[in-house]
Structure formats: structure tokens, C-alpha cells
Subunit: 310 residues, 2 copies
DNA sequence: GCGATATCTCTGACTGAGTCAACCATCGGA
DNA sequence: TCCGATGGTTGACTCAGTCAGAGATATCGC
């Protein structure tokens, strides 16, 4: 992603916005700025002038005059604020609310006209893309751990697991299509036949997008569960998602009565290993093997669930 | 997707752009409009004034004055156009190019500052989302059949097949997770073991995004190939993608020496049926069954490849 | 070839959105 | 109680952008 991409988008979107309010008929008899003020008032009906100034970053004198005009037109009333007599509390009148609604309606129609030109099939993608741009660009956009939710898989989520496992390990470690086959096999086995009380998949979701997964299935050994397919999207690492997924499996396995929880991984997956260690897994075996087009070191880990717990 | 979503995005992005060119220091000693003209000139160095007017939708008088200023500052030269003496051909001078580069550099820095606040991991998603918004909103956005390419699957594409099959048939026909399991099984079988000379998967790609797929595998019957997992994204239907995928399979199957091509589908999938019929498949058997949580009518279709062909 | 009409450019005259500076009132902290 | 900071108002100003008219030339119908 380059600066040029963003500039190109800015130019493009400036035109989109420009096309939307062509000739200002939209705001008559007010200006764009005035209608922005009105919009702000309509959405927080009791605000001080200083708040408006900050929110819309307007010149104080300019805003003062705009409010004069609104007061003359009977759209607002001004009174000194209780807490601080220097400040002026602005409240919309009934007429002001009507006018705001009128302007909003006109803007809606204009945007609706634009929207009607995009095929209905494209709209969800458009909405999704706009949301993505907003959340990424919104300042202070650091997704917080509490924005991540764990849930059961829905339609397509098992396919997502296959897709992301294959794409990520191909990109990060160069694994070949055999790995995609293995994951597809694991997922197919799970989908075709699993005991919902003893086997489960979790999807970690952030802003409506899946960003992680893990699976817990019965192992051949008695009273033993196997953790599989732990994955966290690279751009959401550091939020403790892996920890939460593993904890979900551990809690679930312990809760339904397994005595042991095992997993198989490879030594190149360092960050996953640290997660396992944090949850008390211990390395019980290690064996080199050739898979997925690479020479790897397979590791078996085990966690004793019958212990006193951490 | 509602009109409100778009308006919210517009408000948001207006602020982004506003924050970018705060206080006009960016364009000094020129204005935003002037620098837009300069930008346009720098990117198509020999244009007529009328072109500029159209491109930037400026008032003719306003543009004339801007060009006057540029000429005085030695940024451009004006001469009557050859073909039409009414028009004025505008060419940038060396000094004009310098100035344009300077302004571009300043804008780049400003955008770069914005970009530096987004974590590197988010940038690909941001670029992708911006591209999506642009292509969808760009007027005349009707993807053309020649924009679609068929290719071999890459890492993650088999997972994509599972994901989209499951999500689409769940949304359109209410099929349950059994179907996702079946698709995962088919894909896993293919991934784990297939003869690349006799079995193959195609992905249809549009604008870098997968929008369709189909698989051709060996059947139990001798010299018989089986077409599976034909899928086209709903928002790209009508571009002949399904036809191209099926044709790819038919040509491939005939080319490597299969004598028969069979497929199994369900009667609810009407549009797929029409594609099969167009390619000469004939219905050979029909049987009700209960699968994927629904009562369905399974159909076996067959195409004789040894015939004279169409 | 001729007139009617449209297009391109330019200039003069204007509007009005937004800025700047000065001023008064009040708050909050030393 | 003083002093710097903040909130609000008004006057004066700038300058981006619009509108109308005029001169030059192209294009179209005849």
C-alpha cells in the first residue's frame, strides 16, 4: 500500500462527495457548513457553542454568526450555560428539528440516488469495505481485546479455517498444498461426524470478521482430547486471542470430563508454543518429519487436566 | 446497507480529507483548486483548457484566471490549438513541473503522516477496501467477461471453495453444516491425492478476487470424469463465468481422453442446470433424497465426450 | 457560401464562505 | 486578588468561486 493509493482514493472520493451536493440545492437556504452545524445539533440537541466549535473545527466568529442566523430563523435558542456563564447553551426549537429533518431527508435522497446505481449484489461488499476503511483510519484504532468475541462456527466458517490455514502457512513458511489437504481432511471429519458435547470449534471474531479459530476433538486414547488448528490472523496478534482460544479449549475439555489434552505442532511455530506453555502444556515428544514440502520438527504436547489446575 | 451507512462514511471521510489539508499550508502559495489544476497538467502535460474544465468541472472564467496566474508565474505556456483555434493548448514549463512536483511532495508527506498511523499489518486491508469502494462506486462499473480469468488454485483457494459453497447454499437454500462437510471431504480427497494430468480445479478470478470454481475428478466408472463443485458468486452471475468453467472442464476431459463426463446436482439449482444443458449434458436419472437438512431431488447428468462434439 | 447556433476563451462585476483581530466577560489557579 | 486562558461577539477583510456578456471560431442546415 503506497501513499499514491490513498491519494488516488482521496481524489476519487472527493469527486463522489462533490457529485453528491452539486449546486448546493441540497442545503438551500443554508450552506454546507450551516447544515453540518444543524446536523450536529440534531444529534445532540443540547450542546454548548464551544462543543460545536470543537466538533466541527469552525472559526469562533464564523460559528457565532451562523448561530445568529439560526436564532433569527427561529431554529435555535441560546442561553448561558449553568456551569459556566461564558459558554452558551444552544437548543434546537421544534422548527429547528423540522428543518434538520428536512435537510437530512434531502441528503438521504441524494445519497439514495447514488446507492440506487450500485447493484444490490454489490451493496454488502460496499458497506463492508467502507466499514473497513473507517475502522482502520479512525484515529486510535487499536482493536481492544474486549472487541473480540468467541463464537460457534456458522456456514462457511469451516471453509474459512481451511482457507486461512493454507494461505497463512504458505505465505509464512512456504508449506505446500498438502497442508491444505490435511486441514480440509480434519475439517471434513469434524463436519461429517462429531459429538457436540465432546467436540467443538471456536471462531474468534473481531468487527464481524473471523480472525482466529481452534478445534477440540476426541483423541484415540481414552479420556483424551486433542487441540487442533489453532490460528490467529497476523494483523490481530498481540490481543491475546490465541490465549483465549486455548483457554476455551482447556476449560471445555476439563468441563466435559477429559483427563488429558494433547496437541501436535511444529517447532517453527514459536508464538503458538509460548501460548501452549503458558497454559501448562508440556513437551512429551519431538520427531523430525518431512511434510508440506518442508523438513519439520513435529512436537507432541500434553496437558494433564485432572491436576489441581492453575 | 443503508443510506445512513454511506452518509456516515461521507461525514467520516470528509473529516479525513479535511485533516489532511489543514490550513492550506499544503498548497501555498496556491489554492487547493489551483493545485488540482497543476496536478492535472502534470499528469497529462499537454492538454487544452477545455479538457481541464471538463475534468475538474471548473467554471470557465475561474479557470481562465487561474491559468493567467500560472502564466504570470511562468508555470505554463498557452498557445492556440492546431485543430481548433478557439481552444487553448496549455503546456507546463520546466518551472511548472518543478512546482507540481513540490506540491505533490508536500501532499505525499501529509498523506504519509496519515498512513504512518495505521499499523503495517492493516495496510493491505485498507488498500483492498479502498479499491473495493472505488470499483463499486465508479460509474459504469459493470465488470466485463474479459476481466474474468480462469487459473489454477493457489494456497487457500480450496478452503475458499469450501467456505463459499457452504455460505452460499446456506443463505440461498438453507442447507445445513452437512453440506460444508461434504464439500470439505471432496476438497480434502482432491488435495491429498489427485493425478494432475487427469484431475484438476479451476478458479475464476475477477479483479484479483475469486468468484467461481469447478473441479474435474476421475469417476469410479472407467474412462469417466466427474464434474463437481461448480459455483459462481451471485454478484458476478450473468458474465458467462459458469459457462466458461464448464467449458474448461469439458475441453479438459475430452483432451485427456475421458469418454464420459458425469455430474450430480439437485433440481433446485436451476441456473446451473441450464448451463449443463447448453453444453450438451443429458439427464439420466433423478432420485429424491434427504440431505443437508432438506428434502431434495438429486439428478445425474451425463455428457458423451466421444461424440462428434458441438 | 450564408446564416443560425453552439463552443471556447476571456474579462468585469459580483457573492458569500470563511478568517483574523480586537474586545469584553468570565473562569481557574497562584 | 491578580493574571493567563477560554468563550463569545462584532467589524473588517480576503479570496475562492459564480455569473453574465462579448469576441472569435466551429458546426450544422440550407
Amino acid at each position: 500500500m503506497t501513499v499514491q493509493d490513498i491519494r488516488a482514493f482521496n481524489r476519487f472520493y472527493t469527486n463522489v462527495i462533490g457529485a453528491l451536493d452539486y449546486s448546493r440545492q441540497l442545503y438551500a437556504p443554508y450552506t454546507l457548513t450551516e447544515s453540518r452545524v444543524l446536523y450536529e445539533l440534531a444529534h445532540s440537541p443540547r450542546t454548548d457553542a464551544a462543543d460545536l466549535r470543537g466538533e466541527l473545527s469552525l472559526d469562533a466568529g464564523y460559528l457565532s454568526r451562523i448561530l445568529n442566523k439560526f436564532e433569527q430563523d427561529g431554529l435555535i435558542e441560546r442561553a448561558p450555560s449553568r456551569q459556566d456563564p461564558r459558554r452558551r447553551r444552544v437548543t434546537l426549537t421544534a422548527r429547528g428539528r423540522e428543518t434538520a429533518a428536512l435537510l437530512a431527508e434531502r441528503a438521504n435522497e441524494s445519497v439514495g440516488a447514488l446507492l440506487s446505481t450500485v447493484p444490490a449484489a454489490d451493496r454488502p461488499r460496499l458497506a463492508e469495505a467502507m466499514r473497513t476503511v473507517r475502522t482502520i483510519l479512525a484515529d486510535g484504532h487499536r482493536p481492544r481485546p474486549e472487541d473480540v468475541v468467541l463464537r460457534e462456527p456458522g456456514p462457511g466458517d469451516l471453509g474459512w479455517i481451511v482457507q486461512r490455514n493454507a494461505a497463512l502457512y504458505a505465505a509464512e513458511y512456504g508449506w505446500n498444498a498438502d497442508y491444505e489437504g490435511l486441514v480440509a481432511r480434519i475439517v471434513a471429519d469434524f463436519a461429517e461426524d462429531h459429538d457436540p458435547h465432546l467436540e467443538r470449534v471456536w471462531i474468534a471474531e473481531l468487527d464481524g470478521r473471523p480472525v482466529g479459530c481452534v478445534m477440540c476433538v476426541r483423541d484415540e486414547a481414552p479420556a483424551t482430547a486433542r487441540l487442533r488448528l489453532l490460528l490467529v490472523e497476523p494483523d490481530t496478534r498481540g490481543l491475546g486471542i490465541g490465549d483465549r482460544l486455548v483457554r476455551a479449549v482447556v476449560d471445555f475439555a476439563r468441563g466435559v470430563g477429559y483427563r488429558d489434552l494433547v496437541l501436535w505442532t511444529n517447532d517453527v511455530l514459536a508464538s503458538a508454543r509460548r501460548i501452549y506453555q503458558r497454559h501448562g502444556f508440556v513437551l512429551v515428544a519431538e520427531k523430525p518429519h518431512r511434510s508440506f514440502g518442508k523438513d519439520l520438527n513435529g512436537q507432541d504436547w500434553r496437558l494433564d487436566l485432572s491436576g489441581t489446575g492453575e
